[in-house]
Amino acid sequence: MPDNPLDIKQQKAVLSISDLSKFYIMGEVRVDALKHVSLEFYEGELAVLLGASGSGKSTLINIIGGLDVPSSGKLFFHGREITAATEAELTSYRRRSIGFVFQFYNLISSLSALENVQLVTEIAENPMSAKEALMLVGLGSRLNHFPAQLSGGEQQRVAIARAIAKRPELLLCDEPTGALDFQTGKLVLDVIEKVNRELGTTTLVITHNASIAGMADRVVRLRSGEVSEDRRNLTRMSPSELVW
């Protein structure tokens, strides 16, 4: 439950999740990845999703992003039920509204930084230019470098540029710093924070690093597929102040 009920009234829910469950059947064993999760995320919010390995973070974010479907429960995006969407509707939901950033950057190795971003601007409705997006993440001078010619942090920034170029309503980051060192990680978080602040994009960042939680408006913790904590930070720290 949020600490300050008054705040909620002022904010609009972008995403509401009700009683969401997901299980996998592995032969005889049933793995419950998510158990009756109910949550709401609000416009412009920067939320951090914490939890141990295997607690269901990726499962949740994949369902939110329309990459996966829950076993039961409902998911609403701006009041539209995503869990009832057809394959084509899901595709257009991902195309229009969602920006994804993954732990392993997942850039297309045969495309340059610029072209990787253009993959998105090509199909989005009202994108910023690919160059603009790369400038935003501080890579204006590395436009024509291929992923193999970029450091991990730089690659992740390209991935962020790729995710935000379409001006998504929801930016979903699954352990964006997982593969990066401390300094580089901070740089990447800086960019995410900046995007959230400047573009007002509702942002969800998964991490199992609790110290990152300081930069968020809100911290949600998962334990064994259940929400074990949901709190708001009264003040948001800038990523450069974080220590871990």
């Binding site: 990726s58 990459l67 595709t91 997942n106 990787n116 253009q118």
Partner: protein
Amino acid sequence: MKPLQIKLLRELMRLKGQMLAVAAVVACGISVFVSMSSVKYSLEASRERYYNRFRFADVFVQVKRAPEFYRETVSRIPGVASVSTRIYADVTLDVPGLDEPATGRLVSIPEYRTPVLNDIFLKKGRYIEPGKPEEVIASKPFLEANHLVPGDRIAAVINGRKKELLIVGMGLSPEYIYEVQPGSFFPDKRRFGVFWMSRRALESALNMSGAFNDLSLTLAHGASEKDVIMQLDNLFKRYGSLGAYGRSEHLSDRFIVDEIKQVGIQITFLPVVFLAVAVFLLNIVLRRIVATQRDQIAVLKAMGYSNEDVGLHYLGFAMIPTAVGALAGTLLGAWLGRGLMDIYSEFYNFAELVYYFRFEDVALSVLLSFAAALFGALGAVRKAVLLPPAEAMRPDSPVIYKPGFFDRDVLRNKIPVPVRIIVRNLERRPWKAALSVLMISLSVAILIAGRYTYDSLDRMVQVEFNEKHREDVTVIFNDPMPPSVVFNVASLDGVLEHEYYREEPVRMSFGHRVRRQTIKGIQSAEGLQRLVDKSNRRHSLPPDGIVLTSTLADILGVRPGDRLQIDFLQGKQLHRELLVSGTIDEILGLSAYMNLDALNRLAGDGGALNAAYLRIDESKSGKLYSSFKKMPGVAGIMMLKAMKESFDELIAQSMTTSTLILTSFACILAFAVVYNGARISLSERARELSSLRVLGMTRAEISFILLGEQALLTIFAIPVGFLIGIVLSALLARALSSELYRLPLVFSSFNFLFAFVVIVLVSIVSALLVRRRLTNLDLVEVLKTRE
């Protein structure tokens, strides 16, 4: 360009070796299809046009001599559209610059040019002028082979009198597209020619005024050839007819029809193999691409690319090399087709042999190759489309190693680690290994089948020109001669060995099956001519009864022990019954052999001879030949050597060309399969091999692991390929067999050796190419990337 298209092109470039290999295989298949279909169509269309334009007849009959008014009678037979009568005669020629006598076939043409059946196409010079009996138009192959031109003269012995003929024109006729002397299979252009001459002149030279000895007719639409032939046989029996026949028994047409049929077989057979291999290659290459790009597929889908976008993108990996291959194949096919037509035009004398390159053929072949590409890509593309994006973010589930046969304790310690890795890999995916073996063995099989025709022709030459026929020349008489006359030939100075034979035209029947056939009465089966089958085995000749070529026995439906009904078409025209005492599986033509004495008895006459085989003293040949030229009754001679030469020149040349093409295509096929196999397994195992390197294995050891696997597959594939090749050759031999000839099934050890060496070389080359990549393997790079 869109980023996805850029991605496609860049990645194709990165895989260019493999993609080019796929394109090359497609190109081979398409070029065979395009060239062969265009050649087939060109031959068919040229034949059709030629026949229509020059009114090639439908039914033919030769008689001894029949009154001209029968032309009227025949034209009233229901179903007959038009009739032409002619006079023809085979005469001895004295060709300037040629020692031996040549044979000329004189064929009458109207004095004033009017349209007739089997008309001539005047290639050079002019038509004969009325009132000039010495003027003739001669056939093109004969003139060219003897370097004669209109304006030259040539001497002929017509009806015992020597005459000077003036060549005024060079011509061709639909009757002689394949120009070959009677009784022979292979053209001897120098010693046989057709001469068209004024009917008036021939009438007076042969005492044939008011008569004809050759009649041909065209049928009205929908008429029954069989009925007309029956009527003709009734009419002309008493005029010494040997039976009327349709186009299917016309030697020249028969050759062309067979050729067209054979081209047709190649159209279906080869492209199917090549496209099947292309399907296989695209399948493994695309599966590999999709497997390595699981995460990219997930990302594309996460970005909002639809399943169709993703599917089309990966389909592009199959379509682009296929398109490149189809384009190259079409161009190559057009070029090959033209080349083949040039070879054919040396072989067959068409008025105009037009090369038609048809859009339909190209469209069909391109369509087929894209269907193949689609088929090959389907599995991988489906996988990419169906991949759930959340799933794809996780690496492919690791393969489960189960202890295999070679992991049993007994064996484990005796086998070195690299070998165990190889064997375990093959054991793990037996189907993939089996399919790879099959594909490599298909290229081996095509190599074998390609060289098989070569071996087969070699055997053909061996049997026909060395074993079966050992004479130097055959002297052919104008008319059947009594033995006493013929003995003069044998007593000439320079004749070392001689042997006579008799040829009797008969109608053979068994049950309801009837066939016109010549019985050959020979003195023995151990003399100059021997009975040799296609496996090069000798057969003996029983004193009584008849021995038939197996194909002829099949046509008649008889087996040794059956009794055949025989109607002699000449002389006393007796009806007889005859025991089939054996069959012989011969290479060329259809024959029926009897002991000469038995045939003489059966015919009920004192015996007559048609020709003599002679073995001669080379040093005395000149004198001998000039006495043949003067000898009355000698129609001409056939020289075995000349026939062998023409066989080598014409048939062997076209076969060598096609063998060359086939061999190069098989090499491409082998390379494509082996190289792709090695590249795929390099890509699959780069991580593992790098890890092994990091753990301290040497380059040589990891090369051994990777290439050893390919080597093992190749070693398995070679014997399998030999077997498939033998089966393929047998099928080919059967499909290409006709009444004209049967290909013997023989394989030289060189054939197998050749296939072996080619495949080993191809494997070594592709191993070297892959090894270069392996030694350049960037350990850090490979281990850094996530799989």
